[in-house]
Amino acid sequence: MATRKKVLLKVIILGDSGVGKTSLMNQYVNKKFSNQYKATIGADFLTKEVIVDDRIVTLQIWDTAGQERFQSLGVAFYRGADCCVLVFDVTAPNTFKSLDSWRDEFLIQASPREPTDFPFVLLGNKVDLEPRAISTKRAQQWCLSKNNIPYFETSAKEALNVEQAFQSIARNALTQQSQSVDLYNEFPDQIKLTNTTNRNSNGDSCAC
């Protein structure tokens, strides 16, 4: 019997400095939150094996420096990405405003084959903090305008929605890599990447 091929999915986390990229990655992979992280210099990555549908995939999650000046390094790291995670801080409007430029810059540097179909996932992080500056609605509108990007509101600190978000990320990355149809797609617990489920998943976390 043919052995299942191991799949490596490369995921890039982008967003302004201090929105919690490193924290999200570590919360997801190591199930830990620390307030001791320093500003990321260069790039780092962690890997995690997950099961998406019936396949074991290895997520290689790349955490990058948040200052846009370091984007020039990007080209070395973005290459071959299967999914791009954009992160903003729901309490900091500027981090939301720069999402467009992060997305554009990624598409330029990674130059995926089909830029319009390349999977992005948006995470609004720090929902545990007050006061909130970017409403769920506004974020969802942005997502809608960008080819219906899935949106999750997370808290790396409280581990809110992190698992779900990355499950969706892995799934999107996998779809990007292989367009094969899987049996488990019809399983009840999947996260549907439509607006309705987004609303649901935001429901537990949204504080407003």
């Binding site: 019997m1 299942r4 400095s17 201090g18 190591n30 199930k31 830990k32 307030n35 001791q36 992280y37 320093k38 500003a39 990321t40 210099i41 260069g42 790039a43 780092d44 990555f45 890997t47 995690k48 094996e49 997950v50 099961i51 019936d54 074991i56 290895t58 290689q60 420096a65 948040g66 200052q67 000046r69 370091f70 020039s72 390094l73 070395a76 790291f77 409007p93 500027n94 006061p131 909130r132 500056a133 970017i134 409403s135 609605k137 506004r138 698992e163 049996l183 488990y184 019809e186 399983f187 009840p188 617990d189 407003c208």
Partner: protein, 1034 residues
């Protein structure tokens, strides 16, 4: 949902379980065991979970909170003893893991805690489908599911899979098989290689390298020589001794990088180094990796574990072990012997024989050759082939049989020679040898093309085969030997020539590219190893004057500076203090530095106040917008919208301009005042609206009074200072001590340097504010409210006035730029080394001040991430803001080029490449085989921060001072050699795991702050010296 769809879905679920069961059963048959962590187990559990989830009455059972079926297990544990057992185990496991809450049992997917006995470091997490997994391993799963099926009505909807009379029983019976299996916890080869963390790699390396610790620094010339004669005997052996020790642990077994094709114990070999005649028994193995086949032989003494006591020093056996790459072997000579099982001798390209391998009886030699032949495919083959296709006898029935005489029980001993033909590059050989072949007229053309000329030499001495077995080459043998000798001669000469050529190229690379990296003159480190100690310092620092820079640099370079002296020595090393300066000169310098620093600081503090104010308002805007969005739907009421879009900043300047024009028009002014107050306060939200109204209503009564008293009076200003201070300190959140002095100067600054500021307006503003504060206090209003006004006023009065009336002391662009930088600094300072004892809030503020001052002075450069990391160690040593600032400026002269706008990083990468090429060709080959320059991005942080993040604080100090001193002593690119030293320290790990770009990044990120700084420094200095010698030698 129709029942047909439902049935389809159930059928699919069952089919998937079937598929997974089949997979697991097959695995158990083919591999003899199934690993607990095996992917097929996980998949099976997943399929089972899916079946169990379908139609589960979550709501009725109170299970709706979890998505997994773990809760179901706990539920049925009351009724089923099997379930109770598993449930208990699950709870136990979860309790072991502090990171988990028990409710979310199966939602995670990570390395399991079950395998705690494994060497993975990060196995503190539970696997997915924990309970199903456990139940399977405990062989209880089918019984639990049986129970569920029997009692399905209690837990499942009636159309659920489990409740289905057919599917339910199918499900439980399907699982009987997997439940009967034994699952292994032993790590198997396929699992062994899943991303071992750095710890694990180090550990493995330590185990395997205990026998021979390879010298960390490689001499370039021997290295180079080795690559020239890769196949010469002593070089392979040298290679063996270095590599075999660690290969032993990993490579003798099957693993994902090498397949074990053949293995036989008690194979006798006379090791070349042993010097004894008796052949030794050992383990012979044949491994296939992606690029080549390797034959290994390990003495039995090494194979029988490490506990044998009769061997005093096992290390010598490592020298005996043999490792031969098959691509270096051209001929395989087989000597059959009636007595023993046969002997195989491998002959290399250079004609040198490897030690004979004596097989025991029992067809092992044939088996070995058989495996060898299989392993060579498809890129190579044995010639003649071991197995002949006897197509002559019966055309239609092709029959395979071994060469007739290779079967052991043949009567007389026979010898054979096989040539290993590499079909990937044999073309040129066949062309070259064409004429030679023609001389040997008996050869059949078909075979001829495949045979290299040199083969004939050995063929002549032993019995040779061609496919047809029809030729004898006795007549032509003399001619052949001559031709072969000639060709060998040519080969030897050309090899020597190419070797020489390569050597010349090598040296020219060194000269052209690398001579600039080190200083030409070698300064010896004699008597300098102990560094700049207190005694040495006392000798050198005479009457407050430091006169001997060379000595200081040399001592620092070779031995570092005593920690207590760093505060004094570092300013010299960084170039802030001049050598030979007197105490008073330095004091003067310090005073100047301090004053300049404070002046600069007061400048940016003023701007900061404005920026903060604007932020507050934007923040308030955003919140107001958000709350209006959430309360009143999509449309923001037009009134609020207008207010929101009003930039308060502009509004105020507007107002001041007006008040300048017609100061006497009280009514007008009051009206405007009212407006601004509304503007600023309204953002606080609707709750406070009432308060605000009260306040603004009360204002006009008081204001005219104040207005009459308006006069330009410094005294007055001083009086209001206290209010200002209070306000300002809450704005900037600085400690009030600094703030007070700065603010004084700052106020003075505004008055003196901007004479065009309308003074009356200024003081009036302050008055108004103070009255406001008084007013609010009188009214006993909330503290929040007072703060709001306090925040608004000083910023507005102090900073906006110059801007508005002077026509752009601070342009909007400048405010924008500096504001942006401020935010970044703020973010990064808070995150900078907060785990280091020095960085308390107070000291973080100092760090922030230094950083802001630098950025204010270098706005064109701006703040870039990483700068904080560079300031921090300086501040820790100096604990003085202005000195830190001055030294940081000096440091940045060199470092700024590393940041994205400079081009030093690319230079570093290019130099690294050349250096590795020269100093470690093996490493270079590895990196080269994996691609391009991107490999050096793992050095990015090293160079950007001078290794600050790679080392613990105390080591950062010692590395930094050596880098600074090295500029004068040995190399102004010392960081390169530090980077090389780091690579060299772990080179064996990198090489033996053949790490690629990502592996290396991960490895070094995990190794951060765990390097041995003194070793790194020592090796780096050695590397500098090595390069210096190399260049000197030209």
């Amino acid at each position: 949902m129709t029942s047909i769809q439902d049935n389809d879905y159930k059928a699919k679920l069952i089919a998937s379980v079937k598929k997974e069961v089949k997979q697991v059963m097959e695995e158990s048959v083919t591999k003899k065991f199934v690993h607990e962590e095996s992917g097929s187990v996980t998949s099976l559990c997943g399929a089972v979970e899916a079946c169990l989830s379908q139609g589960l009455r979550r709501r009725a059972l109170g299970l709706f909170k979890t998505s997994s079926t773990t809760a179901l297990l706990h539920k049925i544990a009351k009724h089923s003893s099997e379930a109770a057992l598993i449930s208990k185990k699950v709870i136990d496991l979860e309790n072991l893991d502090p990171n988990r809450r028990s409710s979310s049992s199966s939602d995670s997917t990570t390395k399991p805690v079950l395998m705690k006995n494994l060497s993975f470091q990060n196995v503190n997490l539970l696997p997915k489908y924990l309970w199903i997994r456990l139940a399977l391993f405990e062989k209880q799963l089918s019984r639990i599911i049986d129970y569920l099926v029997t009692n399905a009505s209690r837990y499942y909807d009636k159309d659920a899979l489990v409740a289905d009379p057919d599917y339910g029983s199918i499900l439980s019976s399907l699982l009987v098989g997997p439940c009967a299996l034994d699952y292994s916890r032993t790590k198997t080869a396929d699992h062994f290689w899943t991303d071992p963390p750095a710890d694990e790699l180090l550990q493995r390396h330590r185990i395997s390298s205990s026998h021979s610790t390879p010298p960390p620094v490689r001499r370039p010339i021997p290295n180079f020589r080795r690559s020239l004669n890769t196949s010469s005997d002593e070089s392979t052996n040298r290679c063996q001794t270095q590599h075999l020790a660690k290969d032993y642990v990993e490579s003798l077994h099957q693993n994902s990088r090498a397949t074990l094709l053949f293995g036989k114990n008690n194979v006798l070999v006379t090791p070349p180094k042993a010097g004894q005649i008796e052949p030794m028994p050992g383990y012979l193995s044949l491994h296939q990796t992606a690029n080549c086949l390797t034959i290994k032989w390990t003495p039995n003494q090494l194979m029988n574990g490490f506990t044998e006591s009769d061997v005093p020093d096992k290390n010598i056996y490592w020298d005996y072990a043999i490792q031969v790459r098959l691509d270096e072997v051209v001929y395989v000579h087989c000597h059959q012997d009636v007595e023993t099982g046969g002997t195989v001798i491998l002959v290399g390209q250079d004609g040198v024989q490897r030690p004979p391998i004596h097989f025991p009886r029992g067809g092992h030699m044939l088996a070995f050759l058989n495996c060898l032949e299989t392993g060579l495919l498809p890129h190579g083959r044995l010639d003649p082939p071991l197995w002949l296709q006897q197509s002559y006898a019966t055309k239609n029935h092709k029959r395979k049989r071994p060469l007739p005489s290779l079967v052991e029980n043949e009567d007389e001993p026979k010898d054979f020679v096989f040539r290993i033909v590499d079909s990937s590059n044999h073309k040129e050989i066949s062309v070259k040898r064409h004429d030679l072949m023609n001389r040997n007229g008996h050869m059949v053309t078909k075979v001829r093309a495949q045979l290299g000329s040199s083969s004939t030499s050995s063929e002549s001495s032993t019995k040779s085969f061609s496919i047809e077995q029809s030729c004898t080459i006795n007549d032509g043998s003399n001619v052949c030997i001559q031709a072969v000798c000639e060709s060998m001669k040519r080969q030897i000469i050309s090899r020597a020539f190419y070797g020489w050529l390569a050597y010349c190229r090598h040296l020219s690379t060194v000269r052209t590219h690398l001579s600039g990296l080190v200083h030409g003159t070698i300064i010896s480190g004699e008597n300098a190893k102990e560094g700049l100690s207190e005694e040495k310092w006392a000798e050198l620092f005479v009457e407050g004057v430091l006169n001997n820079p060379d000595e200081v640099y040399k001592l620092t370079y070779y031995g570092g500076v005593a920690h207590e002296l760093r505060k004094e020595v570092w300013p010299y090393l960084l170039g802030h203090y001049k050598f030979g300066s007197t105490v008073s000169q330095r004091e003067e310098l310090s005073e100047q530095t301090k004053q300049a620093y404070e002046t600069t600081m007061s400048e940016w503090l003023a701007v900061e106040a404005i920026v903060k104010q604007r932020d507050k308002e934007t923040q308030a805007n955003a919140i107001a917008k958000l709350s209006s969005e959430s309360t009143s739907g999509e449309q923001v009421p037009p009134q609020i919208q207008r207010d929101l879009s009003n930039d308060v900043f502009e509004d105020i300047s507007d107002y001041e301009f007006d008040s300048n024009e017609d100061l006497t028009d009280n009514e007008e002014k009051q009206k405007r005042m009212k407006k601004t107050e509304q503007n600023t306060v309204i953002y606080e939200g609707s709750d406070e609206e009432k308060q605000v109204n009260n306040e603004t209503d009360a204002l006009p009564d008081k204001l005219p009074q104040d207005d009459e008293e308006v006069n330009v009076d410094l005294e007055n200003l001083r009086l209001t200072n206290s209010v200002l201070e209070e306000a300002c300190s809450s704005t900037t959140e600085h400690n009030s001590q600094i703030e007070e002095t700065d603010l004084r100067r700052f106020v003075g600054n505004v008055i003196v340097t901007n004479p065009s500021v309308d003074m009356s307006n200024f003081s009036m503003e302050i008055r108004r504010k103070s009255s406001l504060v008084a007013l609010t206090e009188e009214n006993g209003q909330s503290l929040e409210c007072i703060e709001t006004h306090g925040l608004v006023s000083p910023a507005r009065s102090a900073c906006v006035s110059p801007a508005s009336s002077n026509g752009g002391v601070y342009s909007p662009e400048l405010l924008e730029t500096f504001g942006l930088n401020l935010h970044r600094i703020e973010k990064d300072v808070q995150r900078c080394d907060r785990n280091y004892w020095y960085f308390t809030c107070e000291n973080l503020d100092k760090l922030r001040n230094v950083m802001c001052t630098y950025v204010w002075e270098h706005l064109d450069i701006g703040y870039m991430q990483g700068m904080c990391d560079l300031v921090a160690p300086l501040l820790v040593i100096f604990n003085d803001e202005s000195l830190t600032y001055a030294c940081f400026c000096h440091l940045m002269e060199r470092m700024v080029e590393n940041f994205p706008n400079g081009n030093a990083m690319d230079c570093h990468f290019a130099n690294m490449r050349s250096l590795i090429q020269i100093l470690d060709s093996e490493m270079y080959e590895l990196m080269h085989s994996h691609g391009d320059y991107t490999h050096f991005y793992f050095c990015y942080r090293w160079f950007l921060l001078d290794f600050k993040r790679e080392l613990v604080y105390s080591d950062v100090f010692s590395i930094w001072e050596v880098i600074w001193a090295a500029q004068q002593v040995a190399s102004s690119h010392f960081v390169l050699f530090l980077a090389l030293a780091l690579l060299e320290i772990y080179r064996d790990i990198i090489l033996s795991n053949s790490m690629d770009f990502t592996d290396v990044i991960k490895f070094f990120n995990e190794m951060a702050e765990r390097h041995e700084a003194q070793a790194v420094l020592r090796i780096a200095r050695e590397l500098v010296l090595q390069l210096q010698l190399l260049i000197e030698n030209k």
